[in-house]
């Protein structure tokens, strides 16, 4: 589905953070991840915080001025395959998390570009993209 308006983009971003948080929670319940619990817990808490940040942006940065059509953002391009991390080994779990992080990074970068007229939200997306880049580096060190 195309994301055509401001609210739709932010709803999707919140959904993305919540899905990633849920995946991380399940991954943390898998003993395979015992030696990287600290990192994954930190990621999980960040996802929860990001979700709140995005909800606030949706609530506070909506005005009549930004009901402008958005083009070129397709949900499916940024959604990771749904898979239960309880069935995976550590390597597979980390690969799946990395896949999710890469897709989130792509989404935030592209969405920031398309939401330029809404500068507050574009800045939030850029900040979240930057965080994602840091997380991807941290993830790479765990492989």
């Amino acid at each position: 589905m195309s994301l055509k308006n401001f609210g739709g983009v932010l709803d999707f971003a919140i959904q993305l953070e919540n899905q990633n948080a849920s995946f991380l929670q399940d991954a943390l319940n898998n003993p395979e991840t015992n030696d990287c619990q600290d990192t994954l817990e930190r990621f999980l808490n960040e996802n929860k915080k990001n979700s709140k940040t995005l909800s606030r942006a949706r609530q506070e940065n909506v005005t009549e001025m930004i009901l402008e059509p958005i083009q070129g953002l397709e949900e499916h391009s940024y959604q990771a395959e749904e898979i239960d991390p309880k069935q995976l080994n550590k390597q597979q779990i980390l690969e799946k998390i990395k896949e999710r992080e890469d897709k989130s990074l792509d989404f935030y970068e592209n969405a920031a570009e398309r939401l330029k007229p809404v500068s507050d939200v574009a800045s939030t997306f850029k900040r979240l993209a930057k965080k994602r880049r840091t997380r991807i580096e941290q993830l790479n060190s765990l492989f």
């Binding site: 308006n5 506070e60 909506v62 009549e64 001025m65 009901l67 402008e68 059509p69």
Partner: protein
């Protein structure tokens, strides 16, 4: 399944109206009935006013900082329920969810602005106006105020007034629009969470009888209303007869001028928003698109192309860019104007009469564009309040200014240009008092006054801003000398 009849809120209690006259509340997206609304009686209005009058004597003595704290608490309650308010609004009014969120944001901004009462309600003092004589002016609350809002902004419009009335020490009676009463009913449920004293705010559902009872009631000190121009005139006149303060905002027919030096591609998104946001049902919507000179062909072609691709549908669908009209009756009224445009000889470039929508029972009209409209055509003169654009091709900036000033209604006017000189000339000379420069919806935020000129505004003080603090208070002047 029978739907419940909505209740009034009087003296801190939810009460069923005794009226047997009942109206229906519709979901514009599906055409289904959502609720029943009572057309309450004058006696019920009297009871609400009585309770507000009684509450006033104590409420005016509550320190302004304490009254402001109620508003701080209320802001938190509104933030916590932001999505629910927004979605309730979409269900009964039809606008797209993003637009609804924008409206609720504006409502909350007024609550925020009202908390500045401790500064904004202050008076003035001057020593020695004559030798040994000092003078001061104090702003005092007046008593009970009433509000008669329209259907198009069911959350926001009452809150252009209500929080300011309360923080300045007045008490309040609101009659929500009978077409969209659910949003304020939900908001009043939330109001209960901040424990205002009984009687400080009251809500009476109803129609003409309640309006007339409000206008005639000797204990209501002032009325704030937003409506069509004929209704605003009626309210203004009747309030004058009963000696009330009044701020009656009326209709609009806003011109959006596009100069040859404007940047079309950058302007288009906000032009689309101007004409089709809220499905054209707002007093700040563009109504007449007036390209000046040789920009017209390119502008109109591109505008038609963008409008054609808008997704019309249920406001709760995240894909939707433009929702339905508020009622079947209003849809028929708008369709009547489209027929009128055709019969008077305008060129129908985009026909929205049969839009492609998921639910044909909803009250939908798609984006509609008439080109080569002339100034004498009905669609160039009357307020349509729908997604119908009249393109009026003009030859000069002066023509655009003359057109803007030739209407009785003078609410808003916008200009798109790269020239500071043209922009200044336009804003300097046009009569409408909300002006957008490369902005298609010239909506003042809570800390600026909201209201038009001419037949778009009756009364001296506008909503919001500092004006509204004046409206809700009397300047008492005290001159003193001590022997």
């Amino acid at each position: 399944m029978s739907l419940p009849v909505m209740k009034n809120y009087i003296n801190g209690e939810w009460e069923q109206s005794k009226s047997t006259e009942i109206g229906k509340v519709w979901c514009p997206a599906t055409g289904e009935q959502l609720a029943n609304v009572p057309y309450s009686t004058a006696d019920e209005l009297n009871k609400a006013v009585e309770s507000a009058k009684e509450a006033f004597e104590e409420w005016r003595r509550v320190p302004p900082i304490t009254r402001a704290r109620y508003m701080f608490s209320l802001k938190e309650v509104f933030e916590d329920n932001f999505e629910e308010i927004s979605k309730t609004l979409v269900r009964e009014m039809g606008k797209a969810l993003d637009e609804s969120r924008g409206e609720v944001r504006r409502m909350i901004e007024n609550v925020e602005h009202s908390t500045g009462v401790t500064t904004l309600m202050m008076g003035n003092t001057l020593e020695d106006i004559a030798k040994g004589i000092d003078c001061r002016s104090e702003r005092q609350p007046l008593g009970v105020f009433g509000c008669i809002p329209p259907f198009n902004f069911p959350a926001m419009v009452p809150w252009w007034f209500l929080p300011y009335a309360l923080v300045t020490g007045n008490t309040y009676v609101l009659k929500p629009s009978e077409q969209v009463p659910m949003t304020q009913s939900f908001i009043f449920e939330l109001l209960e969470e901040i424990d205002l004293p009984e009687g400080v705010v009251n809500m009476v559902h109803g129609s003409v009888d309640v309006v007339n009872a409000m206008l005639d009631h000797p204990d209501i000190q002032g009325i704030s209303s937003v409506s069509s121009t004929p209704t605003a005139k009626y309210i203004y006149k009747r309030c004058g007869e009963t000696g009330k303060r009044v701020q009656a905002l009326g209709g609009a027919k806003n011109i959006v001028t596009v100069m040859p030096d404007s940047k079309i591609d950058k302007s288009l998104p906000s032009l689309i928003t101007s004409f089709y946001g809220c499905t054209g049902q707002r007093c700040l919507s563009g109504a007449v698109l007036a390209p000046v000179g040789d920009i017209a062909d390119e502008l109109v072609d591109k505008f038609v192309e963008q409008a054609k691709n808008m997704k019309v549908g249920d406001g709760l669908d995240p894909q939707t860019q433009m929702g339905p009209l508020v009622t079947q009756a209003h849809k028929e009224r708008v369709l009547g104007y489209i027929e009128k445009g055709i019969s008077e000889g305008a060129d129908l470039r985009l026909d929205g009469r049969n839009p492609d929508v998921d639910n044909p029972n909803g009250f939908y009209v798609g984006p509609t564009i008439f080109d080569n409209v002339t100034q004498d055509m009905t669609i160039a003169k009357e307020e349509i309040f729908g997604p119908v654009v009249s393109v009026l091709r003009l030859n000069s900036l002066e023509e655009a200014i003359d057109f803007a000033n030739s209407r009785g209604m003078a609410n808003a006017a916008c200009i798109y240009t790269s020239s500071g000189a043209s922009a200044r000339e336009f804003k300097y000379k046009v009569k409408p008092s909300m002006v957008g420069i490369n902005i298609g919806i010239a909506a003042p935020m809570a800390f600026f006054p909201f209201g038009g000129a001419g037949e778009s505004m009756f009364g001296a003080e506008k909503g919001q801003g500092q004006d509204v603090f004046q409206f809700f208070t009397d300047a008492k002047v005290v001159i003193n000398r001590w022997f």
